[in-house]
């Protein structure tokens, strides 16, 4: 833990430094336009003149405007501290029930994520059991499962929403189904591998006990598959979150992290977009960490770590 702390901190600081450096040329034109409007002398004068100039050259010619690039209201690239302040204001300083609270929107997305993850994991395990025990399913289901993942989720998400809406299903479930669509696949692949992981000797051994196939499943195959299941769950939960956010985009949803991203881009609220993005990243990291913890505890207790 202590050994990994230093490199992690160094990388984080490096990223923030690169971010700050990038803010200046990204926002310089906007900052110069504002400065000119408030009566300052800008070289060259006139937004039209500056449009095709290199951003770095403009920074060099107008160093007085550098400070302003960090505090624009609608910057092309918001500075890290602007995003941090927005994150703070939209979480700690807002009531959770407020429409402007990122926690409120995060919960909307999280609930769809968790429901979708549960459906996807359940479906994935069932399909994997079917594939392992039935040759017909092995031949027929796997190609479709793979094909399902080659369709861009952005293309199929609106169709799922529209079709379900036309039969009266709205709200949480359509988003959860898109989540499940993305998360069942890693679970199928991992569980098929895991359920097939017992070696010949172990299977022969059960045969000598004259064990039936359900005993073989519960006593050998399922416990053997646990390391594979957890690896899949980590991928699955992250995919679920992506699915839930994507599910919020095409419908013009008003709630959820996806809705924050969408409305931010409608109104040029880049700070809002970035804070929603960081919020989503934080949520994904937390979910993966929780599964990682469950994995460590479970496998340790099973003597498999």
């Amino acid at each position: 833990m202590r050994r990994s702390f230093f490199p992690v901190i160094v990388v984080v600081f490096a990223l923030i430094a690169i971010w700050y450096v990038a803010v200046v040329p990204m926002n310089i034109k906007m900052a110069l336009t504002d400065a000119e409007r408030s009566g300052m002398v800008v070289t060259p004068s006139g937004a039209k003149e500056r449009r095709d100039r290199s951003a770095i050259l403009l920074v060099a010619q107008n160093p007085f405007a550098i400070k302003a690039t960090f505090s624009l209201e609608r910057p092309r690239l918001p500075a890290p501290h602007q995003v941090t302040i927005e994150l703070w204001n939209s979480t700690v300083n807002k009531k959770i029930t407020s429409k402007r609270s990122l926690i409120f929107h995060g919960w909307i997305t999280l609930s769809a994520t968790l429901l979708g993850f549960a459906i996807g994991t359940g479906l994935g395990i069932l399909l994997a059991v079917g594939i392992v025990y039935s040759r017909a399913m092995d031949m027929s289901v796997m190609p479709w499962a793979i094909a399902s993942q080659t369709i861009p989720i952005l293309a199929i998400a609106p169709m799922i929403i529209v079709v379900l809406n036309s039969v009266g299903v709205q709200g949480l479930l359509p988003k959860a189904i898109i989540s499940a669509y993305l998360s069942f696949f890693p679970v199928v692949v991992g569980m098929v591998k895991g359920l097939r992981s017992p070696d010949h000797m172990q299977l022969d051994q059960l045969k000598t006990y004259n064990a039936n196939s359900s005993q073989g499943f519960w006593k050998l195959r399922l416990p053997s598959s646990m390391p594979y299941l957890f690896a899949s769950l980590k991928i699955g939960i992250a995919a679920s979150l992506v699915g839930a956010i994507v599910g919020e985009l095409p419908t013009g949803a008003v709630r959820g992290l996806g809705a924050r991203l969408l409305s931010g881009s409608y109104y040029g609220q880049t700070i809002q977009i970035w804070s929603a993005l960081l919020g989503a990243a934080f949520l994904a990291a937390s979910l993966v960490a929780i599964i990682g913890l469950a994995q460590r505890i479970t496998l340790k207790r099973m003597g498999m770590s």
Partner: protein
């Protein structure tokens, strides 16, 4: 109980179909094993000794001849749980304790909870692992793990024990110790034991009957009835009688190998 042999093979043969053509793993095998015998199968790799053991256990199907276990087919014998099988590796489940691993076959066979607990205690005592019931496999040495796997094969009342190079992966000293224990266990339980090995001293030390096998095609080249007494301290391996039997086994192996 009749005096019929416990295991009886007549003109048994097994041919594997491989991509390189048929491989005769077993040909013309004739063998009777009586109740309470300790029979070793010895020979170089490819001689079919493990395959023969697996045929007895219904893990391989013969392609010719007959074989009976307790007067029935190997499949019926397996279904009536007539034998316990010990593999080369201990194969204990890491997520079960030693006690839990030994309980595995008992759970599968539907023994009652109280019966399971009693049997686990009994067989652990038999292999001298009584203090380790609650330990997990990784907490035990390789030799202890293999003893636990023998206990697992003994937990249900099969009177045949089939062992496929159970001590092959263990070092000499542990192996000697386990051989002594196995003999002791065999005398106390009066089980019929089929034991695959490629160690001549091990085969001679343990067996009442040594079956020498040779490869290409896999066949029996000699069957040696041991003249050693049932009571066998480790020192017996230096006796002239022991050396004489070992010599005969060695000759059998050499004859089977041909002029190479």
């Amino acid at each position: 109980m009749t005096n019929n042999p416990v295991i009886s093979a007549r003109d048994l043969s097994l041919t594997f179909e491989t991509n390189d053509g048929p491989v005769q793993a077993l040909t013309n095998i004739n063998l009777d094993i009586s109740k309470g015998e300790f029979v070793s199968f010895i020979g170089p790799s490819g001689c079919g000794k493990t395959t023969f053991l697996r045929v007895m256990a219904d893990l391989e199907q013969p392609t010719g001849g007959q074989i009976t276990i307790n007067d029935v087919s190997p499949a019926d014998a397996r279904k009536s749980r007539a034998y316990g099988y010990v593999f080369q590796a201990a194969g204990l489940y890491p997520w079960r304790t030693i006690g839990g691993n030994i309980r595995l076959p008992l759970e599968i066979m539907g023994y009652s909870k109280s019966d399971q607990a009693k049997r686990v205690q009994d067989v652990l005592k038999l292999v001298e692992l009584s203090d380790f019931e609650k330990k997990f496999p990784w907490q035990l040495s390789g030799g202890m793990q293999q003893r636990a796997s023998i206990a697992r094969a003994l937990a249900f009342d099969a009177d045949i024990l089939l062992m496929d190079e159970p001590f092959g992966a263990l070092d000499e000293i542990v192996r000697d110790h386990l051989n002594e224990q196995l003999l002791d266990l065999w005398r106390r339980t009066n089980k019929t034991i089929g034991f695959v090995t490629h160690s001549i001293p091990e085969a001679v030390y343990l067996s009442t009957k040594i079956v020498v096998m040779s490869p290409r095609p896999g066949r029996i080249s000699d069957i040696i009835e041991s003249t050693l007494p049932d009571e066998r301290p480790l020192e017996i391996r230096d006796s002239p009688e022991f050396i004489e039997i070992a010599q005969r086994v060695r000759e059998g192996l050499r004859a089977g190998h041909g002029p190479e």
